[in-house]
């Protein structure tokens, strides 16, 4: 399955867990639990990925090529865990989603429906 040639905008909007995983991963390689933790930290504990959703999402994202399994960065990492990183396609999709959201936010701001400073 090679969805990479397509326009990333075709798969938008992303479901929140997918976007959250992409954001949490960034340019790092990480395993599931680390993704949960990172995401919680990035959102200052206001958002949480639950394990069931997280692993189901990871499996689907790996299938569709948004992320891929990789060897862990640190040499002493836990071998029993699967590590993931964002593919270039995933990166493009995440950027497109960000762009879509920025647009929406601008619209919201213009209508006075966005928080100050957004």
């Amino acid at each position: 399955m090679t969805p990479r040639r397509r326009d990333p905008r075709e798969v938008l909007p992303l479901s929140p867990p997918v976007y959250h995983v992409l954001l949490a991963l960034g340019d790092q390689a990480a395993h599931g639990y680390a993704i949960m933790q990172t995401f919680e930290r990035l959102t200052e504990g206001r958002e949480q990925l639950l394990p069931g959703t997280l692993y189901a999402t990871l499996a689907r994202m790996a299938e569709t090529g948004l992320i891929e399994e990789t060897a862990p960065a640190e040499p002493d990492a836990d071998r029993r865990r699967r590590y993931y990183r964002v593919t270039p396609w995933g990166r493009a999709v995440a950027a497109a989603e960000g762009e879509r959201m920025r647009l929406l936010l601008e619209v919201a701001a213009a209508r006075g429906m966005a928080p100050e400073g957004a």
Binding site: V18, L50, P51, A59
Partner: protein
């Protein structure tokens, strides 16, 4: 409740939820998912407390179920974009969403009624917790396959002895020569087979001297049990020859790691047991401790003669080992058992019984039938039934509770029906509420079970659940716990509960007579739920009373037995006694003066601070030192060989009776004149004196017992008669006892009972040091306080009694709240009518009677049914009763009276409120 059981229960809950994912997915991600959950849970609990953790667990479990379901229904190849947005269509999806709505609704309703929800959850948790806990014991003891490969093909090859005049054959241990006959038989269906027995030996060198258990086993023992050594080898067929005793041993993994630092070089090295050096040829796999579950090392059968006693390999009538084997390919158990009869006869022919009248034969038993003793089997079955009754009572209680609620909400239901909701929809909503409650109760119940199994493992005496026949210990108390099957059972119990308590209210919800409900206002029609002319809830209360009475009478019967057992006169003063044993090694210089050693050691102990007296000799309650037969009694006809009455024998030092508080009835105690070269003397207890010299004076007469050695005067003169002492557990039949002086029979091992002024076990270090001063190679073992010994003697009953009592208490409480509930409801329901009656001048007694009627009829019917139930289940209790009939009228009467009192009180308290109805208020309120 602390966080740990909650955490354990939450983990269990999440694991179950994860099962909704397809298997392949679980294989790939399941482990990580659970780990991530576990760590997040720990963090949440640490940061925000147990409640936050619980919230996280419930959310995560729900989320996992949803995602797992999605994953299962996805089926089709993955869609092009990255996220499943959950637009699953079709029946399954719609159903799931409908269910989710129902559950959400139910949760909202339950949250709005915290009192009801808490009560219902607690009732269910008690029922499910009790059952899951007891099931873990049931599984460990009777259901789980033994931890060996192909356990269903494992069998015991038994030697049996039929004595004339007795019915049935007695199962015997094998002697080495008899084992050889069986092992060398051609064409056996039980092949391979292996003999084993456990013995206590002294381990010296490479550390302080200690007593350890070894198993004496045949070559092939390890292979038979699928426990091939991890290092080296097991015994070879060549090491089975007793004429050339093999000096080899296999070590347990734990002994190797502990005492031999886990060095592979241990192979070929030596281990010293009972002073014999043996070559280590192998190390057993970790955790393997043999069929007796206590072995630290193994030696070949043929070496037992060298290491333990020559008699073990030479004596054809020295029966000491059991034989376990495997059915050969194609052989059936029945065939093997038949063949064992023939082989047993061949063994009997080769080594016939040397006393007249007995006949050896053989048989076979399945391994699974032997693994726990009858007492354990009976206990587990009894408790399973009892726990089942608790769950039934819980269901009945809850059902009544839900019916009451359903009645109060009948009006809501009618309104919903009128607005066009389908009846099915109402049934579903009601079922969803029951199911949600059951889930809550099940969750809390599992947490209770985590705690319960731990408590049970701690309370269950080790020797009880652990001991099967023939020293077998396949079931360990440590194995009690929540595993997959116990969990599945807990969930099944929960599902059964939903069906049991949820169905009646659900059906009621659908059976709504619209017009009358709407007209009826809030109260609901009283004619609705009737069974045999009685209110359905009254019937449910009656059922609770009946079941509670069954448990109450059971607890009363076992409790009475326990009281009787504890009240048995043991014949000595068990307070503040420390007991222990020691053994004088064969190579010790003291071997030439054994009595001298004992006396010197006693003197040392007597000088220790806090010691009030020292008694040498087997202490009471731990079992007889030896049981032999009476051979000759002065003034009586000669007794044919082997036909005298059995008698226990104890070897004691002067002071034994005094220190233990055993009274002298006639004659004198031993003193320094007894034993040695003097004419043999003996002291009898009253039972023995009456058995041997009925109606006459025993002191001064002579008697010969089976203990007499060659070259000694056979007849011993009776010098004293002492009070009866129990050497076995009080529920066993007492055997008469005879005492010889230590100087008469110097032993190479000693049992001391030390009377202390303080806590007996505090003395142990000082005793250890005293022994080390005399000989540093001598081990001290079997250290125990007499209190513990006495507790062990009633141990299995204690566990059964405490659980039965707990179950009985819970069910009586439930029956009481059930009764209370129905009467309170009757009062509230009939306010208007009662107010009217009071206004018209009805007296208090009349008012109370009118609201009590139903509950009293139900209660009394319940009591009658309960008496019948208790009558029927007596057989299950029989194994735990001591001098108590399972149909003891006193216990029945007491149980019924107590429960009647509870029912009356629980009815009367709310009924009283009926008389306080203020007619003006009540009538105005309409």
């Amino acid at each position: 409740m602390s966080g740990r059981p909650i955490r354990a229960a939450a983990r269990v809950l999440f694991r179950v939820a994860v099962r909704s994912f397809p298997r392949a997915f679980r294989r790939a991600h399941g482990g990580e998912m659970v780990e991530a959950f576990d760590r997040s849970l720990a963090r949440a609990m640490e940061r925000a407390g147990v409640r936050a953790g619980l919230r996280f667990a419930i959310r995560s479990a729900g989320d996992a179920v949803r995602q797992g379901w999605k994953e299962r229904t996805r089926g089709a190849p993955p869609r092009g974009h990255g996220g499943g947005t959950g637009h699953d269509q079709g029946r399954a999806g719609r159903m799931m969403r409908g269910l989710a709505t129902d559950v959400r609704l139910a949760l909202r309703t339950l949250r709005k009624n915290p009192g009801f929800t808490a009560a219902a959850t607690l009732v269910l948790a008690l029922g499910i917790g009790a059952n899951t806990t007891v099931f873990s014991a049931l599984r460990a003891a009777l259901l789980a396959p033994p931890p060996y490969p192909d356990p269903e093909r494992l069998v015991f090859a038994d030697l049996t002895l039929v004595r004339p005049g007795t019915s049935g054959a007695e199962t015997m241990a094998w002697s080495y020569p008899k084992y050889r006959v069986l092992a060398e038989a051609e064409g056996r269906m039980i092949d391979p087979l292996a003999g084993y027995a456990s013995r206590n030996v002294t381990l010296t060198e490479a550390g302080p001297p200690t007593r350890i258990n070894v198993e004496v086993v045949s070559p092939g023992y390890f292979g038979l049990l699928g426990a091939d050594p991890v290092l080296g080898r097991e015994f070879t067929a060549g090491e089975a020859d007793a004429s050339d005793p093999p000096a080899v041993a296999v070590l347990s993994h734990e002994l190797w790691r502990g005492r031999f630092s886990g060095e592979p070089s241990v192979l070929g090295g030596r281990v010293v047991l009972n002073g014999r050096a043996l070559t280590v040829v192998g190390v057993a796999p970790p955790g393997f401790r043999g069929l007796t579950a206590t072995a630290e090392a193994w030696i070949p059968l043929a070496a037992a003669g060298e290491v333990i006693s020559p008699f073990m390999v030479r004596g054809a009538q020295a029966h000491w080992m059991r034989i376990v084997g495997r059915l050969r390919e194609g052989a059936t158990f029945e065939g093997a058992r038949e063949q064992m009869r023939v082989l047993g006869d061949a063994v009997a022919e080769a080594h016939p019984l040397d006393e007249p009248g007995g006949e050896f034969s053989g048989t076979a038993r399945r391994f699974e039938d032997v693994r726990v003793n009858e007492g354990a089997r009976a206990a587990v079955l009894l408790l399973s039934v009892a726990a089942g009754l608790v769950l039934l009572v819980a269901c009945a209680n809850l059902s009544a509770l839900l019916l009451t609620r359903a009645r109060r909400r009948a009006h809501d239901g009618a309104v919903r029906l009128a607005m066009g909701a389908s009846r099915w929809r109402l049934v579903r909503a009601s079922l969803a509420e029951s199911a949600t409650l059951a889930m809550l109760g099940g969750g809390v119940g599992l947490a209770l079970a985590v705690w319960g199994t731990r408590a049970m493992a701690a309370a269950w005496p080790r020797q009880f659940l652990g001991s099967g026949d023939g020293e077998l210990r396949v079931v360990s108390v440590e194995a009690l716990g929540l595993d997959r099957s116990v969990l599945a059972f807990g969930l099944a119990a929960t599902a059964a509960t939903i069906a049991l308590f949820g169905l009646a209210p659900a059906l009621r919800a659908s059976r709504s007579d619209l017009a009358s409900r709407l007209k009826d206002g809030g109260g609901g029609s009283r004619r609705a739920d009737r069974v045999l002319g009685l209110d359905a809830r009254a019937v449910l209360v009656g059922a609770q009373v009946a079941l509670a009475l069954v448990l109450l009478i059971g607890a009363g019967l076992v409790g009475g037995s326990m009281r009787r057992l504890l009240g048995v006169d043991v014949g000595f003063d068990p307070r503040n006694l420390l007991t222990f044993q020691y053994a004088i090694p064969r190579e010790s210089a003291w071997q030439d003066d054994l009595a001298g050693f004992h006396e010197a050691f006693i003197e040392r102990i007597e000088r220790l601070p806090g010691v009030e007296g020292v008694a040498l000799g087997t202490p009471p309650l731990v079992g007889h030192w030896s049981i032999t037969l009476v051979n000759e009694i002065e003034g009586r006809d000669p007794i044919p060989q082997g036909e005298g009455p059995p008698i226990g024998v104890n070897i004691v030092a002067p002071g034994y009776f005094d220190v233990l508080g055993i009274p002298l009835l006639r004659g004198r105690f031993f003193d320094s004149s007894d034993g040695g070269d003097a004419a043999p003397t003996v002291i009898l207890d009253r039972r023995a004196a009456e058995t041997l010299f009925p109606g006459g004076e025993a002191v001064g007469r002579h008697v010969a017992l089976g203990i007499s050695e060659e070259g000694k005067e056979r007849l011993a003169r009776v010098v004293g008669v002492v009070g009866d002492v129990l050497y076995q557990a009080p529920d066993r039949e007492a055997i008469p006892e005879a005492f010889y002086a230590l100087r008469e029979f110097p032993l190479s091992a000693g049992s001391l009972s030390v009377r202390t002024s303080g806590e007996p076990l505090d003395l142990v270090p000082a005793v250890r040091e005293a022994l080390a001063r005399m000989d540093p190679s001598m081990p001290l073992f079997s250290i125990s306080s007499m209190d513990d010994v006495a507790a062990r003697a009633t141990g299995d009953r204690r566990v059964v009694l405490s659980l039965l009592a707990l179950f009985a208490f819970v069910t009586v409480l439930l029956a009481a709240t059930g009764t209370w509930g129905i009467v309170s409801y009757a009062v509230a329901d009939r306010r208007r009518e009662l107010a009217l009656r009071i206004a018209l001048g009805a007296g208090n007694a009349r008012i109370v009677k009118s609201v009590l009627g139903q509950s009293l009829v139900a209660g009394v019917l319940g009591l009658v049914a309960g008496l019948g139930g208790a009558w029927a289940w007596g057989r299950l209790l029989d194994a735990f009763l001591y001098r108590t009939s399972p149909r003891d009228p006193a216990a029945f009467a007491a149980g019924a009276a107590l429960l009647l009192g509870v029912v009356l009180l629980a009815s009367w308290l709310p009924a009283r409120r009926a008389t306080r109805v203020d007619p003006v208020e009540a009538l105005k309120a309409e």
